[in-house]
Amino acid sequence: MALNLDDYYLPASLQEATELLQRYGAGAMVVAGGTFVHGLEVRGLLTETVALVDISRLGLRGIGASSKGGVSIQALTTLAEVAAAPLIGKNPALAAINDALHYPPRQILNAATVGGCVAAAAPLYDLPAAFLALDGQVQTSLAGRQRSIPLDEFFVGLFESALQRGEIITAIDIPAPAARTASAFLKLETNANDLSLLNVAVRLTLDKAGNCADCRIILGGGVGETYVRATGAEAALRGQAAGEAGFAAAAAAVVDDFEAVEDHRASAAYRRHIAQVYVRRTLATALARLG
């Protein structure tokens, strides 16, 4: 890739990585799986980059149960490793994660990392939409200080996140889901090589009577510069019976939750239409998992 690099570094510790990132400042960029570096370069976003700091030797890889009954996915875990993780695969509450991993080619699943997928802050990416629906938290480290950022506050704009310069994502934590919870993710694309038209990720929790006790509905893809939380659709469904009528109410409300993008792939009107269809389908998929 045609960057004008002074050097490519492979630090062996977080401290060494931090020192390099501080030394180069705006001239350094972290590389994990490296699959988005080309994408950044062709958009002209790496003209100042003179040092790549490859963090793939820092460990930070694997998936475990977190102390509060949730799941913690370390940042350097590859997408293929997430797809194969038993802790995630068998749990209907986390099923949106595996749904979102259905789309990338094998070569990307093997190389791309969870941290890179989130840090890229590209609303077209699938997995972060699923993490958002699951109310995930980003764990970071900056010069030895750790902090936790709710994903709801993480995505600031297109390719812009709440990360400060030199701050490294160390893990994504998914909180323990409530009882009777399921999730799902669906994507609409015109072909497997193109960017998506629209993505929907949901998490649905039922009460004893089968009503929607809680839900989170996230839109990604052609919805603008960042992911959108469809709060109007969520409000329309909360407290309603989880079924066709409630899902239709959520679908009807979703059109007011986002500004549909208009481009050569689809008109804004089509995207508004398809958002309703996909919100309904994604909710129905989640509900079926509680069967």
Binding site: M1, Y8, V31, P105, A111, N193
Partner: protein, 156 residues
Amino acid sequence: MKTIELQINGSTHEVSIEADETLLQVLRNRLDLTGTKKGCDSGGCGCCSVQVDGKVVYSCMMYAAGAAGKAITTIEGLGGGGTALDPLQQAFIDAGAVQCGYCTCGMIMNASELLATTKNPGEDQIRHAIAGNLCRCTGYTKIVDAIKLAAARTGG
């Protein structure tokens, strides 16, 4: 320039590279391992596929410096690295799965991971696995046949 050590097909190669060279560039231009092909150079076609620690990746999307110390396998390393063919290579010939041949090495490197991890993959599994590899000639049917044939010959 800096010198790095790459483990390729079981041998250690010391090679001087620029910091921004991809694994694909180093394999082809500095080590003459030209079985790995350059197509789109941007993750869209799959003909640069190699295995790193047994996992198929796009070598155009990996920096050579980042591959240091990892076990890299290219098409030249299949079948024991000599003139003997890997069952997948033989099956591609026998099934008529090669036309211009430009996609073939990447397809085989991909299918080789699939067969190492999945016994007797079904048609859907094969097609899903090779989704990141484009072929402009064959229409894929014979490629899928070849992968099935290799799976059958190697006992699933």
